[in-house]
C-alpha cells in the first residue's frame, strides 16, 4: 500500500511484477498507465514539466483511497506519479490494484484515477518548439468523479 512521487522515469513492468509477487494470493491485478502524448493538437510536444505540491497530493490521494477502501474490498494498491521533466512516450502515472475478484480492482482503480485527475495537486506544462503552455483541467474529467464518495 504505497504512494510514490518520483522524478526518475520508470518501467511499469518493474513495479507490476514486484507488486504481483507480493500479492500472490490475489485473484486479480489491475494496472493503469498514463503516458505523455507526443502531440497535442498537431503541435509536437518536446517535453512536459510537472509541478507538485507534495504534501497535499499525498493527503488527497490517501483521502480518496480511504473512502474507496470502505466501498471496495481490495488486497493492495500502488500509486506512482512522476514530477519534474517528463519526455513524450514516458510514463507519468501508474496505478496497480490487487483484489480477490476483478470488479473490485477495476472500480477501485478507476475511481482512484478519476479523483487523482481533479484533486491531486499536480500541474502539467507542455513545452513546444515555440514556447510553453500550462495544461488546463478538462471539464470532462470532472464529470467522471463520483461525488457520493
Amino acid at each position: 500500500m504505497k504512494i510514490l512521487f518520483q522524478r526518475k522515469k520508470f518501467i511499469e513492468s518493474d513495479f507490476i511484477n514486484k507488486f504481483s509477487l507480493n500479492n500472490k494470493n490475489s485473484g486479480a491485478i489491475f494496472s493503469f498507465i498514463g503516458k505523455v502524448r507526443p502531440k497535442n493538437q498537431n503541435n509536437k510536444v518536446l517535453s512536459i514539466d510537472i509541478e507538485l505540491y507534495e504534501k497535499m497530493a499525498h493527503f488527497q490521494i490517501k483521502k480518496i483511497i480511504n473512502k474507496l477502501m470502505k466501498k471496495y474490498f481490495i488486497d493492495d494498491y500502488l500509486v506512482v506519479h512522476r514530477y519534474g521533466r517528463v519526455k513524450p512516450r514516458e510514463n507519468i502515472v501508474l496505478i496497480v490494484v490487487a483484489s480477490q475478484h476483478r470488479k473490485e480492482s477495476f472500480r477501485f482503480g478507476e475511481g482512484l484515477m478519476d479523483w487523482l485527475k481533479v484533486k491531486a495537486t499536480f500541474w502539467k506544462k507542455e513545452n513546444f518548439a515555440n514556447g510553453s503552455e500550462w495544461v488546463d483541467q478538462k471539464e470532462t474529467d470532472k464529470k467522471f468523479i463520483d461525488f457520493s464518495l
Binding site: 509541478e51 505540491y53 493527503f59 484533486k119 491531486a120 495537486t121
Partner: protein, 82 residues
Amino acid sequence: MKILYFAKLKQLIGKSEETICIKQKKKISQVINELKKRNDIYDFAFKETNSLQYAVNCEYVDLNFVITDSDELAIFPPVSGG
C-alpha cells in the same frame, strides 16, 4: 501565515511562497483583496479569483473559508496531473 502559490499563479507572482501576518481571523477573499492592493502584479494575478482553487492545510476550501495565522493557505489553478 504561509501562502503557497503553484503553477501559472506562481509564474505570475514570481514566487512560490510568502509569509504574511494576520492578526485576526479572516476570510480568504479578504486576504486576497489585501494582496491585490499591493501592486499591479498581484492585482492581475488575482483578477479571476473564481477560476483559482484554494486549500487550507491540504483540504480544498472556498473563498469564504475563514483562516487564522497558523494556517497554510495554498492558491493555484485547477490541477492537471495524471
